[in-house]
Amino acid sequence: MSTSIENANQDLSDNIIEVKNLTYSYPAYKEGEVAPKIFDNLNLTVKKGEFVSIMGPTGAGKTTLCLALNGIVPHVCGGKFIGDILINGMNTKEVTISEIAKVLGIVFQDPESQLFCMTIADEVAFGMENQGVPTDIMHEKVQKVLKEVGMTGRDDTNPFHLSGGQKQRVAIASILSMEPSILILDEPTSGLDPIGKKEVFSVVDRLKRERNMTILMIEQESERIAEFSDRVILLNNGHIVADGTPREIFANEEGLRECGISTPQVSEIALRYNEANGTNHRFITMDEALDVLKK
């Protein structure tokens, strides 16, 4: 166990996440039954500082992957876990969830399932309290992260009185306060109204630009993914079926259709435009589309 933690500080490679030959199934629902494999020999590496979006249909294994990255799989869920996951050099099988939590934080889809304090300030401070951060530093950090997510001036507000977008931003702040190197966002805008989505993506955009973090985002909003991501991974039935830049991924209409994922409308327009004109455009944003179409 100590070897793993020592290695964590000697990260010689660029890779901050390494999933090696991961095969996993949850415990069977009924005794005697064999649970289906969620992953079968999955391999994935993520470099420091990358912004990776993960897309895939329901049941593809996206959330299970998140839980495997932070150790809940297998430490809490049990099941059959073969292979290795290295987070900043630490093998998740060999360290505790709290060790991993120092390096990796997850924001889930439903803010209400992760907020539980009476005030925003308490919510944001909770993680740090558990890490034994001195009080004066904690206060400073609370204010710093609340500013980053645009939620200052409401320290004593009950998080449950906030809108969906505001709740998610508080959830993000509560993770940021622990200064993880890796931030995972599991469908952070699902269920939010347009304003809420805009607020959360705005924070994500800011984090990408201003912080030196590795970010993994699971999202269905292909149009937003096209804007932010360095890299897009398509997961289907526990397998990585595509891995590339947004431009590469959204040009692969058939691959996306197979996964039941919708392309950004502009990408679909690009494909149809190419069909009609024999061209080879691959625009993925509105601006790029206008550049071509205005001619």
Binding site: G56, Q109, G191, D193, P194, I195, Q265, Y273
Partner: protein, 281 residues
Amino acid sequence: MSIDATREPVIQAIDLEHTYDNGFQALRGIDLTIYKGDYVGLIGQNGSGKTTMIKHFNGLLRPTKGKILINGADATTLTVGKIAKQVGFVFQNPDHQIFCPSVREELEFGPKNCGMSPGEIKDAVEDALESFRITEFAGHPPAILGFGLRRKVSLAAVYSCHPTVFIMDEPTVGLDHRSARELLDIVGELNRNGDTIILITHDMRVICENTKRGIVLRNGKLILDGTTREVMSNIEVLRQTQIRPPQVIELSKELSAPDVAEFPLNVDEFINEFVKTKMVM
């Protein structure tokens, strides 16, 4: 929109106001007629009054001022139970609605409480299982099914009572594209069979690609009511309420003359309008 005398109103809101006990006025005078066979997309930010308004449509809330008519009858003269037979409501979170130990029992619950005979109940349940393609899960406890399936179960459970108006709150949230498409295809089928659909969603592509009429609420008032095309093309008013129409509409506006007021609603229409036409030229 003035009342269309050629069509049958199913739900009418007449100068509808609602102020909650804490003094918050959620609805500030809504005049709205929903007709039989309408497929309405209801849009608005959280807090705009959408949920308050639809709770008047199924009798969960009563007006503090103004009136609601359900199939011509004043809603205040009807019990919630009576309205439930006519207007079905599907919750945003299926887990807030599902509570039976098996899918079949879930689908039986409504018909039993509507006073259907055992034969009618059996038929209604089989029809619901088939229509939503969940027959193989009839004996399963809903709790072990995936989210998309639980969503289908909640919809099927409302369908089994045979209401003629379905109100669905964010039916595609949490579903991947394929599952959402499947669900919306079933909803489209219901509408083609004559049922009235009111769909609340923040997904503008869902509105454009499925609904025929759009209604936008803001701060308790109705700010847009028209065909889906009219409403979604009104970029200026939508922007005031921080709603962005789909990319095809925004692109179309940039590519069209300033006086054009209606735009393509999907990629096919966009291609026909801006790409194929160019080729002909």
